[in-house]
């Protein structure tokens, strides 16, 4: 491809992950066409401290749990959801 367009994506962190990583969100710049399933690699590269928590976590996009094949779009509200403990 001649030129690869990218867009900024902020991934929110909560609870244990927020505490271990030491911030509220990780800012990424991702290529158009990036899927939810490809996020883990990008997060690990951007912030190694998040690596141990990726496998057990789910990804939420726009307030819903997302499937790995979902393609991310500019403006998506993305969050990393570690195992929950409510109730």
């Amino acid at each position: 491809m001649a030129s690869e367009s990218t867009f900024p994506l902020s991934v929110r962190l909560f609870a244990l992950i927020r505490e271990k990583v030491g911030r509220e969100a990780i800012a990424l710049e991702v290529p158009a066409g990036t899927t939810v399933g490809a996020l883990a690699g990008r997060l690990r590269a951007a912030e190694p401290a998040v690596a141990p928590y990726l496998e057990a976590s789910r990804v939420a996009v726009n307030l819903t749990f997302a499937r790995p094949d979902q393609v991310l779009a500019p403006g998506d509200d993305v969050a990393l959801i570690p195992p929950v403990g409510g109730g």
Binding site: R12, F14, A15, L16, E19, A60, L63, T64, F65, A79, I81, P82, P83, V84, G85, G86, G87
Partner: protein
Amino acid sequence: MTAHPAPLIIVDPTPIDLAAIHAFLADPAAGGEVVFTGTVRNQNEGRVVHALEFEAYPEMAVAQIAAIAAEMYARWPLRKVAMVHRLGRLPLGETVVVVGVSAGHRAEAFEACRYGIDTLKRDVPIWKREHFEGGEVWVTNHP
């Protein structure tokens, strides 16, 4: 599409008002109501617990609870559904969560209420930090 009464959904740090939830669930066509209440217990997995602290992704927690309530309405002939979760640091005995359901008959009320709390504990982005004798730890629900 059948119109259902809007569920009562609250996820915030204000104390839970059980009487208000019972009042909300009351319905002329409901003969039975089942209310599950979860409270802060004095021990967990052998640890002496002093308090629990709940954090949420609040917008998503409300959206997920709304989706669970919609599923409950779709699966059972219910009258009213209330799902309330408190946030912040809560001492022993405090009410953490209430799932209440009213229905024409009790079988549906029991099943739907059980489904509601089970699903909330699995899929709603709320996290629990346990303050116990000797430390603090994030505790997750068993699947």
